[in-house]
Symmetry: C2
Subunit: 176 residues, 2 copies
C-alpha cells in the first residue's frame, strides 16, 4: 500500500483533488512512484472510508466541480508511523536484464538497437533531472529544511540514470 502513503505525503504538503494529485504524480513524486488517475481515484475512495482523508466539493466556474481531499489527524498519525518504519530494499525487476541474459538466443543487431534506444531514454531523463536540479536548487550547499528531502530524491534519480547510462555504454562496448 505504498500509493496510499505517497498520497498522504502529497496531501500533507497541500490538499488537492484527485485530478491535482494525478498531475503531481506526473511531475515530482511520480518520477519515483507512477500512478494513473484511475488508481488514484480508487485509492482515495478507500482512504476516505478509512478516515485517512476527508473531502469537500468545490464549485468552479467554467470547469466541473472538484472534490478536494485533505489529510485527517488519523491520516497524519498513520503517515508518521509509516515514515519511521524501515523500508525493505525493493528487488530490482528488469525485463531488459532477462532479455540480455538470453543474448546467445537472440539477434545481436536487435539487441544493439534496443540498447541504443534505452541509452537515449536514460540520457533524456538524466538531462531532465539535471535541469530540474539546476532550476529548483541552484544552491545545493544551502538548502532549506523542507528542500533537503526532495533534493536528495532528485539526486537519487540522477545517480540511477547515470548508472543506467553507464550500463548501456558497457553493453555497447562489448557488443561492438
Amino acid at each position: 500500500m505504498a500509493l496510499e502513503h505517497a498520497i498522504l505525503v502529497s496531501l500533507a504538503e497541500r490538499s488537492a483533488s484527485g485530478y491535482d494529485l494525478a498531475r503531481r504524480f506526473d511531475a515530482s513524486i511520480g518520477h519515483f512512484w507512477k500512478a494513473s488517475h484511475q488508481q488514484i481515484y480508487k485509492v482515495l475512495g478507500r482512504m476516505e472510508s478509512d478516515k485517512l482523508v476527508e473531502s469537500h466539493l468545490v464549485a468552479q466556474d467554467g470547469r466541473p466541480d472538484k472534490k478536494v481531499y485533505a489529510i485527517t489527524t488519523e491520516g497524519r498519525s498513520e503517515l508518521t508511523s509509516w515514515l519511521v518504519t524501515p523500508t525493505p530494499v525493493e528487488a530490482l525487476r528488469s525485463e531488459f536484464a532477462v532479455k540480455l541474459r538470453a543474448l546467445h538466443l537472440s539477434d545481436r543487431d536487435a539487441v544493439l538497437a534496443d540498447v541504443r534506444r534505452r541509452r537515449e531514454q536514460h540520457a533524456a531523463q538524466l538531462e531532465s533531472y539535471e535541469s530540474s536540479a539546476a532550476h529548483y536548487y541552484p544552491h545545493p550547499d544551502r538548502l532549506d529544511d523542507d528542500e533537503l528531502g526532495p533534493w536528495l530524491v532528485l539526486r537519487g534519480g540522477i545517480i540511477a540514470e547515470q548508472a543506467g547510462l553507464a550500463w548501456c555504454d558497457e553493453i555497447l562496448k562489448e557488443l561492438s
Copy 2:
C-alpha cells in the same frame, strides 16, 4: 507477462520442473526477476494450456515424482519474437524515495538508521555479485558466446548496487 518469458529463457537453456525453476529464480535469473513457487506453478499451468511448454512426469526414488517441463517449438518462436521487440524502460518505483521526500515530516534519526540499513544491504549484495563475477567469469576479456549475456547482466547488477551505495553515502553525508 514477463515471468512467462523469463521461464521460457530458462527452459530454453534446460528443461526443468517447477521446483527446479523456483530454485533457479532464487539464484541467477532471480537477481533481476523474483518469482515465488506458487507464481511459477500457476504460470507453468497456463503456459502448458497455451502450448508454449509441455510436461512429463518423472519418477524419482526417495523423492516425490516431478513434472519436468520442456519448451515447445511454439514456445521457442514466441521467445525469439519477444527477444527482438524493444523493451520499455521500466519506471523506477521506490518507496524509500517517497519517504525521503517527506524528510521534513519525519524523524531524522529514524531516517538515518534506515539509510544505514539500506547501505549495508547494498554493500552485501554488491559483494555477492562481485564474488559471483570473480568465480564464474575469471577472465572477462575472454568470454564465450553464451557467457556474454549473463556477464553483462551481472555487470548491470554491480553497477546498480554501486549506484545504490553511492546514493546512501550521499544521503548520509547530507544528514550528518
